[in-house]
Amino acid sequence: MWLADDTWEACVDAAREQGGEITLLYVVDSDTMAALSGRAGLLGRNWPGSPARGGPPAAGDPPEPGGELLAEAAESVLTAAERRLDRQCRRVTRWGRPEREVVAACADADLLVLARDGDRLALGPRSLGHATRFVVDHAPCSVLLVWP
């Protein structure tokens, strides 16, 4: 189940009815990370040991306030979701581009639960944002799309 900052409650409620093993996934967005850290390197060069490439900042590196903030926010969403779910579950945090990370994380899943990005009040704008649309297009498993 993919949890976004703002729509995870609906996902949790839908997943509770599904049964089976449940994994809560939260992706720390590398774009947010870049924006949070001010400028991000000379002319787009990647710096060695860049936290956005692999995982969270490597052990032994001085913790950076930006990374700490992001990790805290991820923990807070996962904890709140676990409490709401009130069942045994696995928690996963990934760092990177959300759409890619979610698709990669679904490799062994039977069903992905995710939420739309809008509401039913306005029919005009699309209810799938760029990342959500990518995931729906490319997820290797069945997808359950719920309204937030």
Partner: protein
């Protein structure tokens, strides 16, 4: 030959400042490079001394305003602003974005761009995360406005302070001419970010009204008085650095747990030393063939096309080098004309949003955080910059041209 040497020195200084091997301060490369430039005869000693004397008050101001922002942060000003925005947003991401824009534009203008990048951005992120709103648009708003909203007051950006000296402008004149461009640029940024992140701003959150901690009144009053002091200091012949220092002292005397060490660290002496070194290295580059090339490219008339060309040139140089050396290099060429000086600032301050290479804030950010791994520049970042920077430059220059016409300057 001297062109090659001076450009190598400049490249070395800037490369070192970005890479920061072993976390060494930027000054470790800049000061020896400046010494080489003088010893090798690229810059005659009297000129170098004049540069240092000229930069002195500006660097003093930088140190004082860094300290002022640090103490305001300790007094809870940014935390309070975040809580206020959270409450007033009533769970709407778009309303929160508007509030973040207002706060970031004011903080940048009054306390300089570094306060927004270093002190306000984490608060904004935490505020959005607490409201369970996607924080990305709001964090982008801070990092963009730190550059593009730093055009209002001479104190908003170190580049502006350098220009105020060169252009012979007073504080009220500067603010008067830049008010319209500032408003126009902030409005354009808001329109573009709102459209760009429409997908992330859709979901409203029902929020329980959080209680607001009492406002840090004393700190807010001191900041207000300091701002007023900036305005009246000029006519009285007092450099704004003294006003900022007095403001910092007024904030500091009410705070517990301040040590001389932490005060010194907040004022960032290594970074100030770096600015001196950079000033001399840029002077060497400006006297070389590279400087003559820039001179040939720079427009000499302040019609709307001249302003636009100057702002564009400054934006390109700010992305190639960094906005500080770009400003130092272009100011002598524009100093004969107020409009051109302000156009340089529009380009040098807004331009860094394009690639996120440049600008003082990068260097300062790394200096303060002592970090080694930086996240990469992402495609989204560059797309957003490619949208906002040309639009902001066009609108900003047009507004500046109108201001100049209206004021008859």
């Amino acid at each position: 030959m001297s062109t090659l040497v001076s450009l190598l020195l400049l490249a070395g200084v800037l490369g070192f400042a970005v890479a920061r091997p072993r976390g060494l301060p930027e000054a470790v490369a800049a000061v020896p490079a400046a010494v080489i430039a003088v010893v090798a005869g690229l810059v005659p000693w009297p000129d170098a001394w004049r540069e240092i004397r000229g930069l002195g008050p500006t660097v003093g101001f930088l140190a004082a305003v860094l300290l002022l922002a640090h103490l305001a942060d300790r007094a809870g000003v940014f935390r309070w602003a975040g809580a206020l925005a959270a409450r007033s947003s009533r769970g709407s991401p778009t309303r929160l974005l508007g509030l973040v824009f207002a706060i970031a534009a004011v903080v940048t203008a009054v306390l300089s761009l570094d306060a927004t990048v270093v002190l306000l951005t984490p608060v904004v992120f935490a505020t959005a995360a607490r409201l369970r709103i996607r924080p990305k648009p709001h964090v982008y708003a801070c990092s963009h406005l730190a550059n593009s909203a730093s055009i209002l007051l001479p104190v908003s950006n170190l580049t502006n302070l350098l220009a105020m000296g060169a252009g012979g402008l007073s504080f009220p004149q500067f603010a008067g001419l830049m008010a319209a461009p500032w408003l126009a640029v902030v409005a354009v940024e808001f329109a573009i970010l709102r459209w760009f992140f429409a997908g992330d701003l859709r979901v409203r959150r029902a929020t329980e009204p959080a209680e607001l901690e009492p406002a840090p009144r004393y700190a807010l009053v001191v900041l207000g008085v300091t701002l007023a002091g900036f305005v009246v200091a000029g006519p009285l012949g007092v450099h704004p650095a003294w006003v900022a220092a007095l403001g910092a002292i007024a904030l500091g005397v009410r705070q517990k747990g301040l040590t001389p060490r932490s005060v010194l660290a907040a004022a960032n002496p290594w970074f100030c030393l770096f600015v001196f070194g950079l000033g001399i290295v840029v002077l060497a580059a400006g006297r070389s063939g590279f400087g003559r090339l820039i001179d040939r490219l720079a427009p000499h008339h302040s019609g709307i096309l001249g302003l636009l060309a100057m702002a564009g040139l400054a934006a390109v140089l700010a992305n190639l080098l960094n906005n500080l050396p770009a400003t130092l290099m272009l100011l002598p060429l524009a100093a004969h004309n107020t409009g051109l000086v302000l156009a340089v600032l529009l380009g040098a301050n807004i331009g860094p949003n394009l690639t996120y290479v440049g600008s003082l804030a990068t260097l300062l950010w790394r200096q303060i955080l002592h970090r080694r791994g930086e996240p990469p520049v992402t495609g989204e970042f560059l797309r957003l910059g490619a949208l906002t920077v040309p639009a902001c430059l066009l609108v900003g220059v047009a507004a500046l041209w109108l201001s100049l016409r209206v004021s008859g300057a």
